[in-house]
């Protein structure tokens, strides 16, 4: 059964408390079908706890959840039949081979899962090492075997919790391509990570979580654009330009750099750009560069989390 809303994960007021501590706080999450969705937050933000609740590994204190359109825990078995997951570090029987470990998990799934073992191993590049005992596998190989295991479900939804932990740069690059490949096939990937760069490079959409709360949610491009506007300015006289910009009411901050002066405009900056350019020209400066700076998710993330820290 498919969710009529087009979301593969939907939570409403989802909360998890450990005693007095609130690990997940009234989370309203909507993961759209067919996207790579980043669940981004610092360590201890409650990312893994939310994933554990979705997968039935821990009980929610309050709120509701739907996976692939099915309510969980009520229809947990049916929902998880098409969900593949890596939670924290993937675990295996070290005395069994990679192939045997997949066989053990396939036995708990539908009969067709056994027929997917070879394909899954090939997909993660472990065919040649599949008949070696897992105790001889490197961490990276175990991560890849974890992905192969999650593919046994022929998943509509892949939930990957910090999947690149322990991978070398080449492995991380390979992993990114693999995840994008899954999305191209029509699968949805929910990627939990504290690595901004990773989420920005892999994901289409993101939810930023901090202290158990989803602070903001949307497409990466939109989130980056919504932040304070930043422009790069290069002129014939940087010192004079800095003086003019520093005194401007619409400017929040200025930072000289190798590529020009990075100017962050205040929230109410609708006409500030026009006014700044006018003043620079009137001051006799030649404008060599005047363009919006690309705002990274990292900047947006830091902006949001620092605002929260100020409010706390």
């Amino acid at each position: 059964m498919q969710g009529s809303s087009g979301f593969v994960v939907e939570t409403s007021a989802l909360t998890k408390r450990f005693g007095e501590r609130v690990a997940v706080d009234n989370v309203e999450l909507r993961v759209p079908r067919g996207a790579a969705f980043g669940y981004l937050g610092p360590n201890g933000a409650g990312k893994t706890t939310l994933i554990r609740m979705l997968l039935g590994l821990t009980q929610a204190t309050a709120g509701t959840m739907r996976l692939l359109g099915r309510p969980v825990p009520a229809e947990r078995a049916a929902a998880l039949a098409r969900v593949g997951a890596i939670v924290e570090e993937p675990r295996f029987h070290s005395h069994l081979t990679g192939r045997e470990n997949l066989s053990v998990i396939a036995a708990a799934r539908e009969p067709e899962a056994h027929h997917r073992i070879d394909g899954a191993l090939a997909r993660v590049g472990l065919t040649q090492r599949a008949d070696e005992r897992v105790k001889r596998y490197s961490l990276g190989m175990r991560q890849r075997l974890g992905v192969a295991r999650s593919l046994l479900a022929d998943p509509e939804l892949l939930i990957l919790d910090e999947p690149t932990n322990g991978l070398d740069p080449a492995g991380i690059h390979e992993f990114r391509d693999m995840i994008r490949g899954f999305v191209t096939e029509g699968r949805t990937v929910l990627l939990s990570s504290h690595l901004l760069d990773e989420v920005e490079k892999i994901c289409d959409e993101v939810a930023i979580v901090d202290r158990g709360q989803v602070v903001v949610q949307g497409s990466i491009a939109d989130l980056a654009a919504v932040g304070k506007q930043t422009i790069l300015i290069a002129t014939s006289d940087e010192e004079q330009a800095l003086a003019i910009l520093s005194e401007h009411r619409g400017v929040e901050s200025v930072a000289p750099g190798s590529d020009g002066i990075r100017v962050t405009l205040g929230a109410d900056s609708a006409d500030a750009q026009d006014d700044i350019s006018r003043r620079l020209v009137l001051a006799g400066l030649a404008i060599r560069r005047f363009e919006p700076a690309r705002v990274s998710l990292e900047q947006r993330f830091l902006e949001i989390t620092s605002r929260l820290e100020d409010a706390a």
Partner: protein
């Protein structure tokens, strides 16, 4: 290959019940691939029987006047007595490994996220464990049964009925020990602790309690009393420590089959529920 293509329908196979044999087969795979365990079980059950008969044959060949034939009822009795104790030890090793293996390695969590119920995952372990231990104990028994018949010489060879009764009795004791260890380890999640507790009970405490006459009818509740009652009469001389009816023995064994599962039963809500901290 479907791992490369996302399907839109949820698997209908969930409705089918053919996952049970596959789960049992997976549990069996996990066990039989533990070489150390397998070697230990064989070393405890088959090897002593081979050595025992080799020694009996050797001393009989060296001095037939002083040492009688290696086979016969008396030697069968002695070897079955030894094999029954060693089978308990082997069954406890297997049961403790079965119960604690997935929890110890962290793989139980990975099994749970497939959506399969925890009770189903636990239930598959019993036939898998029996499937491993019983054939090996049967092999040990086959050695002693063959030896007792082939090398009976001037002594009377045991009857086929007695051999069948002995095999069934050995199997019963082995299965009970396996279930007990499996139940305890599934609750404790620790192989070592389980082995210590169940060995202590089965090999030391229970036999000692059976000898204490002052306990009176309380001893009727011990599984050892019930299995003694069911032991083939022709195999062991004298009467059992505790006299009890056949019905009572069967009842006690039935209760002891359930007792190891009681901790799981008390946790049944948690086990059936999708929620259990792993």
């Amino acid at each position: 290959m479907s791992a490369t293509t996302a399907s839109t329908a949820l698997p209908q196979a969930r409705a089918r019940n053919n996952w049970r044999p596959r789960l049992v087969s997976a549990e069996f795979l996990k066990l039989r691939k533990r070489r150390g365990l397998l070697i230990s079980v064989i070393a405890l059950t088959v090897v002593p029987m081979i050595i025992g008969y080799a020694v009996l044959l050797s001393i009989h060949a060296a001095n037939p006047g002083k040492h009688g034939p290696a086979g016969g009822l008396k030697n069968l009795s002695g070897s079955i007595d030894l094999l029954s104790t060693l089978s308990i030890v082997a069954a406890v090793l297997v049961g403790a490994t079965l119960g604690a293996g997935d929890l110890g390695s962290g793989v139980f969590r990975e099994l749970v996220v497939t959506g399969r119920s925890r009770l189903a995952l636990f239930a598959a372990r019993v036939p898998a464990g029996l499937g491993l231990i019983l054939p090996i104990v049967a092999a040990g028994f086959a050695v002693t049964a063959t030896g007792s018949v082939v090398f009976a010489g001037s002594l009377g060879a045991p009857s086929a009925t007695l051999l069948l009764e002995s095999a069934a009795w050995l199997g019963l004791g082995t299965a009970l020990s396996l279930v007990l260890a499996l139940g305890v380890s599934s609750v404790l999640g620790s192989r070592g602790t389980t082995i210590g507790i169940v060995f202590g009970w089965q090999i030391v405490a229970a036999p000692v309690l059976l000898q204490i006459r002052a306990l009176g009818s309380l001893r009727d509740g011990l599984v050892g009393a019930a299995t003694d009652r069911l032991a083939p009469a022709a195999l062991f001389e004298g009467t059992p420590n505790v006299k009890m009816s056949l019905a009572a023995a069967v009842l006690v064994i039935a209760v002891w089959t359930i007792v190891p599962l009681v901790p799981l039963w008390t946790k049944r809500k948690a086990l059936r529920s999708p929620w259990i901290a792993l």
